[in-house]
Symmetry: C2
Subunit: 215 residues, 2 copies
């Protein structure tokens, strides 16, 4: 029953390299070149091999290439982004407005990822209901790493109205949008997160994030 | 500014192999052997290199080795698990009670992972507040893959009262428990998820999870 696959130091280091080089890729960097079916299959294979509470696999994926649907999603982004800009003051608002925060129309492929709640009791989901949603996020992170290893850029668009996205893709009422993503080949992967380069936020000191036994 | 690191086919395939071989490891499989500091550092390095909304890095990690604290967490599991068992009927309840669903005391290291909400407006978190929590889940999935690549088992214990865990580790009121984990070297990694082997749940057909342009 056991797997005899043990990984060696070099393999573990390669994983860390993929993790450290993963980036959130925005619209100004996507190439207008379709993704291969084999690459898309590998990204989805990574997704469905994520951990899920009680092996519930509560995920669904909508692959979007239709330009009209993309434009409708983009309209929702524009509305939400205009509202968001108003929440930042002065210089920060100017900086905010200069950022390109999505690549919905530029990316050849968009993927909307949904959580589909199970009707029956799920093993492991009885005390913390939210772990069903978290399973879907684990699938998303697997996709992101797999995309990066395939030299495909992926970006998370969170400045959208999830209910509008549900309507646009005709999702069942019980489904919940977890994330909306843009994928495509890219001109480059930045060496650091863009918001770090632009000094929007500083990297936190790891020592301040780690506690021993208790706070 | 750009990174010239492109990954090749073999490297991408290795990532998929790590993803597919990752398992939720339970108490009956942990070895009583401490983890090396270097291994723990790599797991935490993987965590803090996860994507986070607006580069907010809203994660904190409590590393628990104290036996008394572990026992208190284990007590919370026992209470929640007794309640959970009552939610399954007949044969399923018998099967449920036969499962070992945690490894809190057996694992040499436990890690409680918290979300620390930022007071200021976070870029990208204005329309979907939950993406802050989701950033922390991305960090968790990175940890899980890194642990597997280091041949270290990791298990998610979700059958606990998150408020009790907060009290036990003296977490600040504003922090939210996202996940509680057991880590340790292990006798083996199963070839498939344990709940799949035991036929608790069947693996879903990928074709039923994927939609094109809309539902």
């Amino acid at each position: 029953m056991g797997s005899d696959r043990l990984f060696d130091q070099q393999e573990a280091d390669l994983l860390l390299e993929i993790i450290v080089n993963r980036r959130d890729v925005r619209g100004n960097r996507f190439l207008n070149k379709p993704l291969g079916e084999e690459e898309i299959d590998k990204i989805l294979m990574a997704a469905v091999n994520a951990p899920s509470v009680g092996f519930s696999q509560p995920w669904e994926f909508v692959l979007i290439r239709d330009e009209k649907i993309k434009q409708q999603i983009r309209d929702s982004f524009d509305q939400e982004n205009a509202k968001a800009a108003g929440l930042f003051g002065g210089e920060k608002q100017k900086e905010y407005n200069a950022l390109k925060l999505e690549g919905i129309c530029e990316a050849p492929l968009n993927i909307a990822v949904f959580y589909k709640e199970k009707k029956e009791t799920v093993l492991g989901q009885t005390s913390m209901q939210e772990v069903g949603l978290y399973s879907v996020v684990c699938a998303i992170q697997n996709m992101w790493l797999m995309a990066r290893a395939l030299n495909i850029g992926m970006g998370w668009v969170s400045i959208i109205d999830p209910e509008k996205v549900k309507q646009i893709v005709k999702a069942p009422a019980g489904n919940q949008l977890v994330g909306y993503f843009c994928l495509g080949y890219t001109t480059e992967f930045l060496k650091q997160p863009e918001l770090e380069i632009l000094k929007w936020e500083a990297r936190k000191n790891m020592k301040e994030l780690i506690f021993y036994d208790n706070y």
